[in-house]
């Protein structure tokens, strides 16, 4: 029997409780062991619940409860979650979390202590909600040198972009709609500014490349500067706009970034719409593999967490997720090759020639209609991203959001 202590009974935590209670027979058939919900810590009042007797308000006592085998953290935030988790590990408990902020801020500290104590620290649910990505990357694709991950890792922004594309609405209107539907929080900044996606790509790179859990150097741009007009250029160009998180292992180190991109038709991520997430992984042997599904939500996320508990039940002595490796330098996010798109605004007639002279090889796109008077879309040739962004700024012309113009 595996006894689970649950820290936090909010959206995801209550999902974990529901799965453990409803699908106990399935879990038993898969593991040959009972996974029992032993204790739940939450400061709020849940005395109306059928399982009210399991609740406690003392997280430290739960972290020290000798009868608990797995500590499932659904509290969110870095502190005090970190302290409770570290105490649980110190007491010899395995830990499962969906908390990406915690994993990025303290994952290496927790993993090191877990290794010392011979327990496991798993966080499948921290990326892609219910979609299996961490375990497949770590285990099923382990025969590969993995060198590239690209993902749509944030469901809120993907929903907003889908509404802007299909509904022709503005960013603000789409955001409000997402908030009404519960897809965006009242303070949506972590989603729309790209911070959530940055933490997730940092975690995926760690699993795939062994890079450090440090997202401080990752260039991050959100979607709030995107307009309906950008969507119309994308449609004209046969493309779709996505907030893309990318990490690459390259000679000399690794780099990552989060930025809006225009994806061509036929790109495996181009058709991923609404709140769905998808992760595209490239390995030297397997080529591209894609994982797709619901990247958030109580039950999908809880499904991944209970999958981790089951992994622990089957393999309590497994090696850490990411084995130690040599130094892997964090390279500048904008050091790679790409093409860029932007709208050049309020451009006098002679501007086009100057743009083509200053950014050689560019292509200009003009759309009909009053909204596009006196502006054009600029698509650069492929070049070093930092240099291209500088060249656009040095035009000294007002311009819209800058999007990566990706090939398949």
């Amino acid at each position: 029997m595996i006894r689970v202590g649950l820290l936090g009974h909010g959206v995801v935590g209550s999902g974990v409780a529901e799965i453990l209670r409803k699908n106990g027979d399935v879990l038993w058939a898969r593991t040959g062991q009972r996974l029992e919900l032993a204790s739940i810590c939450d400061l709020r009042d849940f005395s109306h619940l059928e399982y009210a007797s399991l609740f406690t308000k003392d997280a430290l006592a739960m972290a020290r409860d000798k009868s608990i085998d797995v500590f499932v953290e659904c509290m969110g935030g870095v502190e005090p979650a970190r302290s409770f988790v570290l105490e649980a590990v110190r007491q010899g408990k395995h830990v499962v979390t969906s908390n990406k902020a915690l994993v990025v801020a303290a994952g290496e500290e927790i993993a090191a202590l877990a290794q010392e104590k011979g327990v496991r620290f798993l966080y499948e649910a921290s990326v892609g909600g219910g979609i299996p990505v961490v375990t497949p990357i770590r285990q099923c694709l382990a025969a590969n040198r993995l060198d590239r991950i690209a993902g749509i890792l944030n469901g809120t922004t993907n929903y907003i972009l889908t509404r802007m594309k299909d509904g022709g609405v503005s960013f603000d209107a789409a955001l409000q709609e997402a908030q009404r539907l519960g897809y965006a929080e009242s303070d949506p900044s972590a989603d729309v500014q790209g911070d959530d996606a940055r933490r997730k790509i940092c975690i995926l790179a760690h699993i795939a490349f062994g890079s450090p859990l440090d997202d401080g150097h990752i260039f991050t741009e959100g979607i709030s500067a995107l307009t309906r007009e950008d969507m119309l250029y994308a449609r004209e160009l046969g493309r779709s706009v996505k907030l893309l998180a990318v990490a690459e292992l390259v000679s000399g180190g690794w780099r990552a970034l989060v930025a809006p991109a225009m994806l061509p038709q036929g790109h495996p991520l181009g058709g991923v719409d609404d709140v769905f997430n998808a992760v595209l992984v490239h390995g030297d042997m397997v080529d591209d593999v894609l994982f797709y599904g619901r990247g958030a939500g109580a039950l999908p996320t809880a499904s991944a967490m209970v999958g981790d508990v089951l992994d622990i039940a089957l393999h309590p002595g497994d090696a850490p997720l990411c084995p130690p490796r040599g130094e892997l330098a964090a390279l500048p996010s904008l050091g790679g090759q790409t093409r860029l798109f932007t709208r050049v605004l309020r451009a006098p007639a002679e501007t086009a020639d100057r743009v083509l002279a200053q950014i050689p090889g560019s292509r200009l796109v003009r759309l009909d209609g009053p909204a596009f008077q006196g502006e054009f879309g600029l698509i650069t040739e492929e070049g070093e991203e930092a240099a291209l962004r500088k060249a656009i700024d040095e035009l000294g012309l007002p311009h819209g959001a800058v999007l990566r113009y990706m090939s398949v």
Copy 2:
């Protein structure tokens, strides 16, 4: 150290040898153990290879070689592969295979012996080539009651259908092209008649539902009756034609079938083109999850096999893939609800009324152009599939291939 014996050095076997030789450092970092290619059995002459000294022609001796830990079967076919594998298991070796015919014909026998001997029998590569599906379904999604799997499981037929759609060519021309490119074998019947996809959906159902490895009752229809005209109806209807393998867990048992289908825009499998495979899994907690990638090819398939070897290195004492469960009845493949599409051919003018009278609720579609003179497309209302197919036959009219007309 884990010592690997490789049975068969053909397309996939040589891929396994290449990965073990080239990516040994990656595997070592992931497992903390050396995975060593110890012996290769093949009757052909490979004396020109750098690792020619590893070859033997005696498969039984390799199966009995006490220094070998994992027996990797890349021989294909049921016999004599089955006998060699059973002998290897009897001698206490773990077994990894990509051989779907072997898994369906003898998988339960091998798994039972493996359990008795305390060794593992893994076959991730038998479905979806390099795409991780078996392990994610078994482990990562194990918190779910999985009740539905739909997949594009055969790359050859998917390539042919893509060429028929995009290139406007006939089935025969597309097949010849696939053969020229090495995507189809000189005898393509197992692919184009759907037998390959049937074995794979049978294996996936076994992993997901615990159904027996018995594909005898699975209704199987291939793609050789499909025409360019079917593709044009699909385009007019905003749909794409795919060879779909489906398995469902329903009240009273499970059922599966392999048949061509028209998928609407927005269906997660609708955009899976060329030789790619995809598997869509539905669980009660996670909703839909999709796995996508190269479903065949030497290195992708070998990547999955080496992933299994690594799984064994990490978890030599793991439980069997599919735990024993109670009887699960095999229900008739055509007992489910669906809509159907077919072309009604050489139909006199008064036929339409008769069709609508005999198959109430149907919708007729007419395309312009000389190729469509005197015919129409028939889309039935939703009903029991067997009854709908019978009703189409009872029209007594010549008709084209019957395709399932799926909703999202």
